[in-house]
Symmetry: C2
Subunit: 262 residues, 2 copies
Amino acid sequence: MIGIFDSGVGGMTVARAIEQVCPGLPIVYFGDIARTPYGTKSPETIIEYCRKNTDFLISQGARMIVVACNSAAATGAEALRQHHAVPILDVILPATIRAANVSRTGRIGVIGTRATIQSGIYERRLQEVRPESRVFGQPAPLLVPLVEENWLNRRETKMIIRKYLHPLRQKQIDTLVLGCTHYPLLKHLIGPRIGRRVALVDSSLELAGYLNRFLEERPQLREALEQARQPSRFFVSDLTDPVRKLAERIFGRTITLERVDV
Amino acid sequence: MIGIFDSGVGGMTVARAIEQVCPGLPIVYFGDIARTPYGTKSPETIIEYCRKNTDFLISQGARMIVVACNSAAATGAEALRQHHAVPILDVILPATIRAANVSRTGRIGVIGTRATIQSGIYERRLQEVRPESRVFGQPAPLLVPLVEENWLNRRETKMIIRKYLHPLRQKQIDTLVLGCTHYPLLKHLIGPRIGRRVALVDSSLELAGYLNRFLEERPQLREALEQARQPSRFFVSDLTDPVRKLAERIFGRTITLERVDV
């Protein structure tokens, strides 16, 4: 099985994309709703949560881990790689590769939680793959609660998005990375407000494509992951009605969510 | 010492009010920033956190507990009373007494997190103290992240407050309970938008006054609490810059925050 964890439900956009791009790959998902959000918390706390989540997924049969939360990936993925023997993919690398390839001018914007932007990980990774690029990070912390409230078409949401994007417009970026797994649900508002000529990079979709290519080159790993022959399972550390609704909206079907303490 | 816990920094408005109303009473505070917010989480999870927080405060010398978070008080205070021998006050009772006394028409509004409003606790308690009252609850979940982002005077914040208050205006309430310890920081926006003729009840302030009267009637308990002769201490389960800033704004001075795992 492939283990996926996120601070909450946002990572389900990654799980859904993996389902579509790699059908037949059994998923074990863990959403840490009881301690969500991660993006406002300190690196030490995020790293501790990442370790616990990874241990849980491995105990459930995961042979590979996807860190589906940008805040966790930004601060915790390296610690996990040092600590665990299984392959660990995170949502940040595929998005940076895509952004580096798609940008004409090399002026790339990134929106994300405060933890993600403050970590500077997008800047560092983009400059590794495209050294002359200029990367402009913008924290957009209110977008997560707005998505979780299902305010996906409200005037206030549009105004707040415009406010967050304003500094990036002034920097004349030509590519914008949606550096949080909640943001794909706001793509329809972000696109028109950043401008039609700016390419949007969706970190959830990019991860699924990257994983597919990664497994094509590693048939033995793919076989090990598929070996489980179990149906996918979705665990959460807390369960409320808004969580159920958001999960249903992301998957377009009813998902059985199992509550677990980690 | 008097133990105070909250899901985060909001409860510091309670600690500050207690400092002012009961000077000389040593405080041990715990803010559960690592797992904040509580208001979007399920009753089971909130109760578990309340127990852990209370155990920690007692281990630090607390002889009485104040549940300074409305979401925790709404779902966890009763479980704590059954479980612990120390007196347990919560922010909800003093606010309901005040609202019942101050309202002329008995039409009382309450704003709070989803957990607080869904628990129905304000309705139940208000109807105990004033049976003919009509209570209108309105969840206002985005106000907590807006306060935590320090968006205290933004146009978007004003619009969102107006949207939340609109149904309560239509109910022609004459009293509004601020049923979340973050909301006192938005009083200056809530007042004009609900209307000058509506009395605002601040649950943090009411708790401090209630506690003072409670201890006046129990001189032995007061003595036991003051016995510690220790300075007040403020613990948090996570520590970031916005938390430090918000604490400073609430107290009007620098506060030493000690990080602890609970």
